[in-house]
Amino acid sequence: MDGTESLLRATAVSKSFPGVKALSDVHLELRHNEVLALVGENGAGKSTLMKLLSGIYTADEGEFFLNGERFEPASPRHAQELGISIIHQEFNLMPDLTVAQNIFIGREPRAGGFFLSERKLNARAADLIERLQLPLEPWSPVGGLTVAKQQMVEIAKALSYDARVLIMDEPTAALNEAEVTTLHALIRRFKSADTGVIYISHRMDELKKIADRITVLRDGQYVDTVDTAATSMKEVISLMVGRALRTDAQPEGVREDREVLLSVEGLSTKALLKNVSFELRQGEILGFAGLMGAGRTEMARAVVGADKADSGSIRVRGRPVRIQSPADAAKHRIGYLSEDRKQFGLMLEQDVNANITVSSLSELFSSFGFMKDRAMRAKSRQYVDSLRIKTPSILQTAKYLSGGNQQKVVIAKWLLKNCDILIFDEPTRGIDVGAKEEIYRLLNDLAAQGKSIIMISSELEEVLRMAHRIVVMSEGRVTGTLSAAEATQETVMHYATLRPDENPEDAAELGLELDDPARTVDGSR
């Protein structure tokens, strides 16, 4: 090894989970006094790699070096003691405690024995806060702070352990532009000859501002590390999406002349959605693409009435409808299949029969309040056969089925309810490759039978091979609607990374806030 030893180095790291190879032979090098950005699509392995570094997971293979010395992080606390602190996307804070109490939780200064010294605690926190130049008060309860300030508390807590390596997982996902600037200033103050930052982000625009180098992962594999200054963001995106599109699988049955079944206009929610409009046609598979937090799940939840919409109108088969709950949606024959099957889609402890029939009990299987057992079983058997659900019997408990077959059970439930608009949120999440193909075939079959399908997916490749048209979202807005012919990894990614709230160029491209229409948009990306 030469004289310029790296601060942190990971070599040939591999990690598998049951059924999935999350990381395979990945490298990473963080130099002193550097911000290294780590980018990749959803599922590329960024979070897994960070969890290995911070001791949450243990690597199957590979070696880690801190200042040239080999180390094996055994637990989050151990990693912290070594000087590696991680700030997760989900904060680990106690909202009812104050800033100072959170920073020094478990290490409270004592007034003697069992008694706390609130004064020493606040003084130490005030010192730290001043050193980091953070706009925080030690005695503010954390639950009352903005997300940005809560993040600062996390940072202060991490740095109070004398961190040398600070890992930040999408730190700006919930911040506005001014807050991002403050965060970046803080990061620049932190990095020094002894320290460095690993910065995970989806936001291409900010990598230019903060990152010295960018490491790209794809499908759990190392792609490349580039100097930010010498690389355009376009190049980074093409490194991220990488491989050429598979040509053997294309959307099936794409036609323009279909009748519009569901039309959503100007849908907005208090939390995220801004003026979302789209149309779903009969027998169509409409893909929804976008990065995490773009608002796709929120769109689905607002459409089926699981979340309250502030404004907007929905028409089903041409007629305006009011949908205020998923039960209303089901009356209009709209079914929503949640991305979290286990929490929202299935009763894991119940058998297949109960799961398939639960939503249709009162319409189809009850007489005077009693359940018609035999009819239920007959229907369940019919769907187990027609959807090829692999289960020893319809009386098998749902939790013992594989992910793919669980998904089919949920689909059967909605088909039995005679839904002809099906909203699939991440239909293949947690399902292994072979079973994915079966779900794809099933979706194509359903569309061919005239069912209309909305398919929300974070896997770009999956959207591209399945969707007849693709709606792309970013920051709660629809930023683009592409036909199958127009859609490529690059075009979808372009629309998915538009950030009209931060970039005037992006806003102009979308025709929003046209305060400077003379500005050209092409040169900015």
């Binding site: 989050p76 606390r77 904060f91 680990n92 804070l93 106690m94 909202p95 009812d96 405690l97 104050t98 800033v99 109490q101 939780i105 478990g106 290490r107 409270e108 004592r110 007034a111 069992f114 008694f115 706390l116 609130e118 004064r119 606040n122 008060e137 030690p138 005695w139 503010s140 309860p141 639950g143 009352g144």
Partner: protein, 331 residues
């Protein structure tokens, strides 16, 4: 000492004051309700606002108040303790068995009873923290066990302390002239509980666990240990309540106890402690306990039948909790 944020007097006026103001407002609301109820009864019946009756109200708060103090800690961690009522009856019986049947000296018997309560809490804490049995189930089981054991140990008959007249003095004596000792005990316990909750690491981790248990664990705190300590601590209060109720009655009644847990939990909840954990205060709990006593006493004085008192108490709980939820929604 109402909130952890308002403890040090050296704080400049800034930052979190707005939020702690809100917390103070909640306490103020509870206190204001107490005052309103008090004033209404005073106007409605001239027998209500007398020195004797106010003392009677305080006196009748002692048992529920003592139970509620310990339970406040448990509820702030996000747990629940249903075993406090029958646990108290079991402790009263233990006191009778030790002091009357076995002739254990008074002081030793009282101490033993309190420690026995701590043992019940320790078992609850073990079941909840180590065996991971949900607190509702673990303490429901303990509630039944304690109820049964109280009957078994006493052969289903009350144990009278007639031969130990000093025992009743614990509750009914007057160290301060015309002022029952029981009220002094409750006041002292409230002060101790408030100090523990606001000034010690026990209190800090109690809030921390209830606020975000996983984050507390990830911060390197032994959550299991502290949960066991909290349940054990609540158990000590069960033991003390057992002493106080048997001293008041002059006997250990094995069949009583059931129902006290719900009154104590009601006091905690009316006082603004969140059943979801993370929030709560000793002052709030004491106000909650007083609201219950004042209601019971006032309704009795106004000759409203006993049956109706629980109906009204139930409605008060609904209103108090709903008002608290509305307040939180606004912020």
């Amino acid at each position: 000492m109402t909130t952890p944020t308002a403890t040090t007097e050296t704080q400049p006026v800034a930052g979190g004051v707005s939020l702690s103001l809100r917390d103070r407002l909640q306490q103020f609301l509870a206190f204001a309700s107490l005052l309103v109820i008090f004033v209404v009864f005073s106007i409605a019946n001239s027998n209500f606002l007398t020195y004797g009756n106010v003392l009677a109200i305080l006196y009748s708060t002692v048992v529920i108040g003592t139970l509620a103090l310990g339970t406040t800690f448990v509820i702030i961690t996000g747990g629940i303790d249903l075993s406090i009522g029958t646990g108290m009856a079991l402790c009263a019986v233990m006191s009778g068995v030790m002091i009357v049947n076995l002739g254990v000296p008074l002081a030793l018997g009282v101490l033993g009873t309190i420690l026995f309560g701590g043992l019940l809490g320790l078992i609850n804490g073990f079941n909840v923290a180590i065996l991971k049995i949900p607190p509702f189930i673990a303490t429901l089981a303990m509630m039944l066990v304690a109820q049964g054991l109280a009957l078994v140990l006493s052969h289903s008959t009350p144990i009278y302390f007639n031969d130990v007249p000093a025992y009743s003095k614990i509750s009914r004596g007057n160290l301060i002239p015309d002022f029952p000792n029981a009220v002094i005990v409750l006041t002292a316990m409230a002060v101790i509980a408030a100090v523990l909750l606001n000034k010690t690491i026990l209190g800090r981790y109690t809030y921390s666990i209830g606020s975000n248990e996983e984050a507390t664990g990830l911060s390197g705190i032994d959550v299991r240990k502290w949960k066991i300590i909290v349940y054990t601590f609540a158990g000590l209060f069960i033991g003390l309540a057992g002493v106080m109720i048997s001293a008041r009655l002059g006997s250990a009644q094995p069949a009583t106890g059931m129902g006290y847990e719900l009154q104590a939990i009601a006091a905690v909840v009316i006082g603004g402690t969140s059943l979801a954990g993370g929030k709560g205060s000793v002052v709030g709990t004491m106000i909650g306990a007083l609201i219950i006593s004042v209601l019971n006493n006032g309704l009795q004085i106004m000759s409203i039948p006993q049956e109706w008192q629980n109906v009204i108490l139930g409605c008060v709980i609904l209103v108090a909790v709903y008002a608290d939820m509305m307040r939180k929604k606004q912020t």
